[in-house]
């Protein structure tokens, strides 16, 4: 499937900002079953400088600085992405993936194969997912058992989060502690992804956070509204001996072609779409719109 993704972020400051430094993780990265055909970023007012680099995890980071006084910052990206991830779906349900038990997985993790070593860092604590408590562990243990298939356990974990947690926007912020989200069982896609990751890590398995977009379809018979799409987040688990498998606990599905990957890391902290330090005396209002147009 081919998509044109338009992502616009606007900051309106209530007092002029004299200068600022910003970082964006907006350019969709290379990823299994995904190709980036075209990408443009437009920033207004024009930054005094812009540069791009790859970060530790291989994500694209755009860094730009504003040195002229401004009251509004607008970042618009347009990405043309080809998704062909759906064709891997059957592999996930194949015995090669499904038959791997947690005991086997944990044993395989002891190897020092480059791929395993690379994945193992995702078993450790991270900036937002740390000091997880018993609540997380017990929640995970209900799905993960030594002799059970890791894939099935993950699938079930995803389903349980989907059922047990309420999607409530505004209840949590990006800095709401993970243990609190688990207690309240409310949040948004970031929270659900991070809860799942915390659970998987409490079992000693690697899990990463994926930031991206999801195409939303209008109810039957209605026109799709421009800008109704959204930034999205889900998680992936590493099944040693097989590889990474994505799960979307917000929508209770294995992401296929309607999910577009932008970047990944250990948690939200590693891949915020936009962050920055601005110098000025006021506060700002944020407005984000994402539009995903299916081309074919």
């Amino acid at each position: 499937m081919l998509f044109n993704v338009t992502h616009i972020t606007k900051y309106k400051y209530d007092a002029p900002v004299s200068y600022g430094h910003n970082m964006a993780t907006l350019r969709p990265r290379e990823s299994m079953g995904q190709e980036l055909l075209d990408y443009k970023i437009a920033i207004t007012p024009e930054p005094s400088e812009t540069s791009e680099r790859l970060d530790f995890f291989g994500n694209y980071i755009t860094r730009f600085s504003m040195q002229t006084e401004h009251e509004e910052l607008k970042v618009k990206t347009q990405s043309r992405v080809k998704r062909d991830y759906g064709r891997y779906r059957d592999q996930f349900f194949s015995p090669a993936c499904k038959n791997i038990t947690m005991d086997q997985a944990l044993a395989t993790l002891n190897s020092t194969e480059p791929e395993i070593l690379e994945a193992k860092q995702f078993t450790l604590e991270s900036t937002f997912i740390r000091k997880t408590d018993k609540g997380i562990l017990e929640y995970a243990q209900k799905s993960f058992q030594g002799n059970r298939s890791v894939f099935e356990a993950s699938f079930e974990l995803m389903q349980r989060i989907y059922t047990d947690f309420d999607f409530v926007s505004g209840f949590t912020t990006i800095s709401t502690p993970i243990n609190e989200v688990m207690q309240e069982k409310k949040g948004v896609c970031q929270d659900f992804a991070q809860i799942a990751i915390a659970c998987i890590r409490s079992m000693g398995l690697p899990a990463k956070y994926i930031s991206g977009y999801i195409e939303t379809l209008p109810p039957p018979g209605e026109e799709k509204l421009v800008g109704a799409d959204a930034s999205h987040a889900w998680f992936a688990i590493f099944i040693p001996g097989f590889g990474w498998v994505d799960f979307d606990p917000t929508n209770n599905q294995i992401p296929l072609d309607q999910h577009i990957v932008v970047g990944w890391g250990r948690d939200y902290y590693d891949v915020p779409p936009l962050k920055g330090v601005v110098y000025g005396s006021g506060t700002s209002k944020l407005k984000v719109s994402v539009d995903i147009a299916r081309m074919e």
Binding site: Y19, H21, Q121, T173, S175, D270, K275, V278
Partner: protein, 853 residues
């Protein structure tokens, strides 16, 4: 007087384990014998007297150490024990080789983990030891380094183990502290014990500090003859701030805070009075995570947003590089022998403290079984809250710790609990053994490391304490590496200062320093004028009436009101309080509050506090006399603050002492700091403040006409508080009258205490500011001063003294003039602030997030 000859050696009793004095055959080492022989010559009285001299000298020089959350407050005096720590050069040679090797290894590790990560890939170091350490900053991965060595400064904590060798107990790589204190310890000890110092053949330190200077110069990304180097401090509340200021003034580099620096166009700049100066090298004392709020801790106000990117572009060098904190990592210790073989194919020269990393099954099992015998640390947190001594834990606490370890084993390391060696410390009149730890320092020097022949020795506070840390109190020692032959006196080789950023140029003055100097001037002026006025008012209050009653005279009422106007402690005597008792009904209680209540904005106590803060922030510019007088002021004030019910005469005495010391202090400032070092800003602040307060005083006392007798007294009060009564009598030889008083206090062009004189001086001073227009148009801050000066020159005392029409009680012309002047000076102050100290732009996060680290 009885003779005081003591046999130190015989009375010295070691109490446990290994003492530095003895060889393994229990004989006293020759060099300690030699030192003790010298001590015997001095005798106990002399020795204790020298210790007192030492304490005095340190406090004279303002050597302090800040302890967070310390009830004793900030700026705790640094303790140095008279008895140095001795090591013979033969033993030092091995230690030195070991330190160089370890510095090299850590350098390799640093380069590897932020680059190829072959240590992890090849399994030499488990990935958790690095990836699981919060000091591993993924943002720094792949950042190029322009210096020859990745690790420029390395410090190791050493202690003598049970086998008689010096062991490494901690590695310090992030922003090691202690080099400044070491230098101060040496200079103090060598001054207090000059004879012994020269007889013991002590290796000199100065060469090492030249290495430090050279290393900083060589670190410049573009090879310049005059790289711009700054020292970045978290500020005056940091525990080792004294040292930052000390090193800055010793090395001759500006001491800056994050706010002084800014990133633009891919370069790092210092905001100076003249404008932006490009910076090549930063010796930073700000921790890794706080260095760049854009990429690291968003909530940090100690760093510079965008700094890492400047490093990435190779436009600045940070010493040590951001990210080096990951090697302060006890988890690395068990793997160091492997690392040494991997990189250098060598064995470790220096032994290390036995450590078990719990990320390995076998080790974890051992640790869990032997927990009560071990010391447990986290790999990335070596502060004392996260160190557990198994022996002191009860079974519940042990279980809790076991659970924690089992949950995230890779985060924990256990170390053997051993008692390190002791060495003699002078405690009152005796030498007693105390545990000690030595911090040794290495500096990158070309393709090698230079090792300081000495170090910072820290000593446990009492016999029972085995762990040594400055945060816990305790004391320090000078560390002497002894040669067999006399050491040649170093020629005072003050190296050529090659940085073009000199701390002595007004143009290059960091704007934060400039601002502090400006406020230093304003506060010192405010304290002085207010103290004088309060003294005079209190004196009148005591003389005229019962101080606990409402004043029965106009003059007293006016004086008290003026106190409120001058200090800005409204409502006070000037306005009706909305509720509660009226100040005017209890004048003494209100006066006491205006003097003593440090939480009341505008009170004398509050102003003294602000004065202290402004001065402490420019600590690096002080002379030692200034420090002494400053301390004296603080002491006088502190003991007064502690008094519950000071008597009237007691208060007057304190105010007298405060005023005399302030004047001494002001004199010292003027001769200790050069105009181009920023004294100009101090003068501007001082003149502005004095002018503003003179205006307030005159407005409150003189603009309303009273009956003659009252008026006479008010004029006398004004002259007294203005320290001008004698001058008046001398100049006018007459009965005190308003017009001549106005001439003297406001309009005299020659008299240094007159407003016209002060504003004229202000006008001349601000012309010298870097951005002033010397020729044509006046700048925003020059205009109002010029206008104020002109208004004063055009004014005439007789007109000012007259009331507008007969029968009126208001001197309209005087009031209007004073009001205008007050507004003009306020404008000046605003304009200077926005031109030179523009820190008004707050640093904000684009998206506010709190950082759960």
């Amino acid at each position: 007087m009885p003779t005081t000859k003591t046999n130190w050696l015989e009375s010295y009793r070691t109490y446990q384990g290994y003492d530095e004095l003895y060889t393994s055959a229990a004989e006293v080492k020759d060099y300690w014998k030699k030192l003790f022989a010298q001590f015997e010559e001095l005798g106990v009285n002399e020795l204790t007297a020298r210790q007192k001299d030492m304490d005095w000298l340190l406090s004279e020089n303002g050597v302090t150490y800040n302890v967070y959350n310390d009830p004793k407050g900030m700026h705790r005096p640094w303790n140095l024990n008279l008895v140095p720590f001795l090591l013979h050069q033969n033993e030092w040679k091995t230690v030195k080789a070991g330190l160089r090797q370890r510095a090299e290894l850590l350098n390799h590790i640093l380069k590897d983990i932020y680059g190829e990560r072959s240590l992890i890939k090849k399994g030499v170091v488990p990935h958790e030891v690095i990836y699981g350490h919060k000091g591993f900053l993924r943002q720094c991965s792949g950042i190029p380094q322009v210096t020859q060595k990745y690790l420029s400064i390395y410090a190791a904590d050493l202690a003598r183990g049970t086998d008689g060798r010096l062991w490494v107990v901690n590695d310090r790589t992030e922003a090691p502290s202690g080099m400044g204190y070491t230098l101060e310890n040496r200079s103090t000890t060598s001054r207090i014990l000059p004879g012994i110092y020269s007889k013991m053949n002590v290796t000199r330190l100065s060469g090492f500090y030249q290495e430090l200077n050279q290393m900083l110069e060589d670190a410049s990304p573009t090879k310049k003859e005059h790289p711009n180097i700054v020292i970045l401090t978290p500020g005056s509340h940091n525990e080792t701030y004294f040292e930052h200021a000390y090193l800055a003034s010793f090395l001759g580099y500006p001491l800056v805070q994050g706010n002084d620096l800014v990133v633009r166009d891919g370069f790092l700049w210092m905001k100076s009075l003249q404008g932006l100066k490009q910076i090549d090298v930063v010796l930073r004392r700000v921790d890794d995570a706080f260095a760049d709020p854009l990429e690291l801790r968003e909530d940090s106000h100690l760093g510079v947003a965008g700094l890492l990117d400047v490093v990435r572009r190779k436009n600045v060098s940070i010493i040590n590089p951001v990210g080096s904190g990951v090697m302060e990592n006890p988890g690395l210790i068990p793997f160091m022998p492997g690392v040494a073989r991997y990189f250098l194919d060598e064995d470790l020269i220096l032994p290390q403290i036995a450590s078990w990393w719990c990320g390995q099954e076998k080790e974890k099992k051992y640790v869990l079984e032997n927990l009560s015998k071990l010391v447990i640390k986290q790999i990335d947190s070596t502060n004392r809250e996260s160190i557990h001594f198994g022996e002191f834990l009860n079974s519940g606490e042990l279980d809790q710790l076991k659970q924690k370890i089992a949950q995230r084993p890779y985060r924990f390391v256990a170390q053997e609990r051993i008692s390190f060696s002791t060495a003699p410390n002078l405690i009152e009149e005796h030498l007693e053994p105390r545990n000690l730890v030595t911090r040794a320092f290495c500096i990158a020097s070309g393709n090698d490391y230079a090792v300081m022949p000495g170090g910072l020795v820290r000593v446990a506070p009492d016999r029972e304490t085995i762990r040594v840390s400055n945060q816990r109190g305790g004391t320090s020692k000078d560390f002497w590496v002894l040669a067999d032959d006399p050491v040649k006196e170093d020629k005072i080789r003050l190296w050529q200062r090659r940085s073009s950023l000199s701390i002595s140029g007004l143009n290059d003055l960091p704007s934060l320093t400039a601002e502090n100097l400006y406020w230093a001037g304003r506060y010192v002026g405010r304290v002085l004028i207010n103290a004088r006025f309060l003294r005079m008012t209190l004196g009148q209050l005591a003389m005229i009436q019962n101080r606990n009653q409402e004043p029965n005279s106009d003059k007293l009422r006016i004086l008290l009101k003026t106190v409120t106007h001058l200090t800005g402690t409204y409502p006070g005597f000037a306005k009706k309080a909305k509720e509660g008792p009226q100040a005017i009904e209890h004048p003494y209680a209100e006066m006491l509050s205006v003097i003593k209540d440090k939480d009341r904005v505008g009170s004398l106590a509050h102003t003294i506090n602000m004065f202290g803060n402004a001065y402490y922030a420019i600590r690096n510019l002080w002379s030692s006399d200034m420090w002494r007088v400053f301390e004296d002021i603080q002491k006088v004030w502190k003991s007064f603050q502690d008094e519950e019910r000071p008597s009237m005469t007691g208060i007057l005495r304190v105010l007298n002492r405060l005023i005399t010391r302030l004047i001494a202090f002001m004199g010292l400032i003027e001769e200790s700091i050069m105009i181009k070092q920023g004294l100009l800003l101090y003068f501007i602040g001082l003149q502005l403040e004095q002018s503003m307060l003179t205006i307030t005083k005159c407005r409150s006392l003189l603009t309303i006409k009273y009956e003659d007798a009252t008026e006479y007294d008010l004029l006398e009060y004004l002259l007294t508080s203005h320290e001008s009564l004698n001058i008046y009598r001398y100049s006018y030889r007459s009965y005190i009258q308003l017009a001549p008083v106005l001439n003297l206090v406001l309009l005299d062009l020659e008299y240094p205490r007159s407003l016209t004189y002060m504003i004229n001086r202000l006008q001349k001073d601000i012309v010298r500011l870097p951005q002033s227009e010397k020729d044509n148009h006046l700048t925003s801050y020059q205009k109002p001063v010029f206008e104020a000066f002109s208004k004063l020159r055009l004014a005439e005392s007789n007109t000012l003294a007259a009331t507008s029409e007969s029968g009126s009680y208001i001197r309209q012309d005087l009031d209007t003039l004073l009001e205008e002047l007050s507004n003009l000076l306020y404008k000046t102050s605003q304009a200077i602030t926005s031109t030179y100290f523009n820190h008004t732009d707050e640093q904000n996060q684009l998206i506010v997030q709190t950082f759960p680290l």
